[in-house]
């Protein structure tokens, strides 16, 4: 089954990379222009009718987003991953929400988390997980989460030491006994 899929895809598209991860699990990489065509062909003629996930990876060093569409064929229980690279600035990816209505939710999430816009999605820009977010999208790798957290939610007063004796010594009382104090002095030396 997967062999036929491989052959069909190879004839139709210039595949950049083709990895067969398991006997029913195929990962193909296509170029950006033919990504949507490949997804549509997988749906219409190869039987991958179910969209499981749209995922995005931020490759900051190479200045690109890697988009991946994960499709499944329940009849043969085989999985097809189609991925493509898109430039990081003003990233625009065609929407699939009129083919799979469920894609709309994934696309809204990706828009919110990475700032990738999907023209054609009727609900694009609606709040999905974050409400009233004003900063750069939080899942981009150049977003400094800790700095943001300290700025907005305030300091968290961390402990300076990790030695439990400093904190529970007084309460437990063991370290205050003569024996305990002796042991503590010995350990200090």
């Amino acid at each position: 089954m997967i062999d036929k899929v491989m052959k069909d895809l190879e004839i139709r598209f210039p595949l950049l990379q083709l990895v067969r991860e398991q006997h029913n699990y195929l990962h193909v990489k296509v170029d950006k222009a033919s990504a949507i065509d490949a997804v549509l062909m997988a749906k219409t003629s190869l039987g991958f009718k179910t969209l499981q996930l749209i995922s995005t990876v931020d490759r900051l060093e190479e200045n690109r987003f890697q988009m991946t569409w994960i499709l499944e064929n329940y009849g043969t229980t085989s999985i097809l991953l189609i991925s493509a690279d898109f430039p990081r600035e003003d990233c625009i990816v065609p929407s699939l929400s009129d083919i799979w209505p469920a894609a709309s939710a994934f696309e809204r999430e990706i828009f919110e988390m990475f700032g990738v816009s999907f023209p054609g999605n009727p609900r694009e820009g609606e709040d999905f997980l974050l409400e009233g977010w004003k900063d750069i999208p939080p899942m981009r790798r150049d977003f400094d989460s800790e700095e943001y957290s300290m700025r907005v939610f305030g300091e968290r007063q961390p402990r300076e030491h990790t030695d439990p004796r400093q904190y529970i010594g007084d309460i437990v009382g063991e370290w205050n006994t003569p024996m305990g104090a002796k042991r503590a002095r010995k350990e200090k030396k």
């Binding site: 997980l129 974050l130 009233g132 939080p138 957290s149 939610f153």
Partner: protein, 187 residues
Amino acid sequence: MYCNQRPEKPGNKIEVFEKITNMARANSLWVTAYGTGCGAIELRPLHTSRFDMERFGIAMRPTPRQADVLIISGYLATKTLKRVIRVYEQIQDPKYIVALGSCTINGGMYFDSYNTLNVLDKYLPVDVYVMGCMPRPEAIIDGFSLLMRKIKDGRAQGWKHYKENLDYYRENQKKIITDWDLPDYNW
């Protein structure tokens, strides 16, 4: 129907009456069934025959109208905080907050997350903290017994504190909820 006035100060009560009522309050804590973080998982065993919280008179109510206690079970996203404020203000006085887990104390393991707040006490008045990540049911029962002791002594006054320092809490809340669309006074 919303009230658009500031909350009025709770009046003085007859002391003996209040003492008896405090005993009743301590022995009949009704909890809003609302879980915000992963700590809610460990709340469920409290219903079962092994831990059985009904023997303390603690019961779950599905609506904030009838509850006394709001349990913040762990990390709180800003989006959830909005709903939690709404729920908290609909609970009728007197009301108490029990906060579970290290996330509510200082952010816990989500201290650097972009979306979960670090110190809960800035936004809502917490009466009892329960330590642990996540607290076991025994620890939660222990926290409840501390709350019961506080109520009996009349020390669980978080709700009064909230009303008196409403401006402080509102300022903090509005700082992190950027699209504030709640009614300002909602009693």
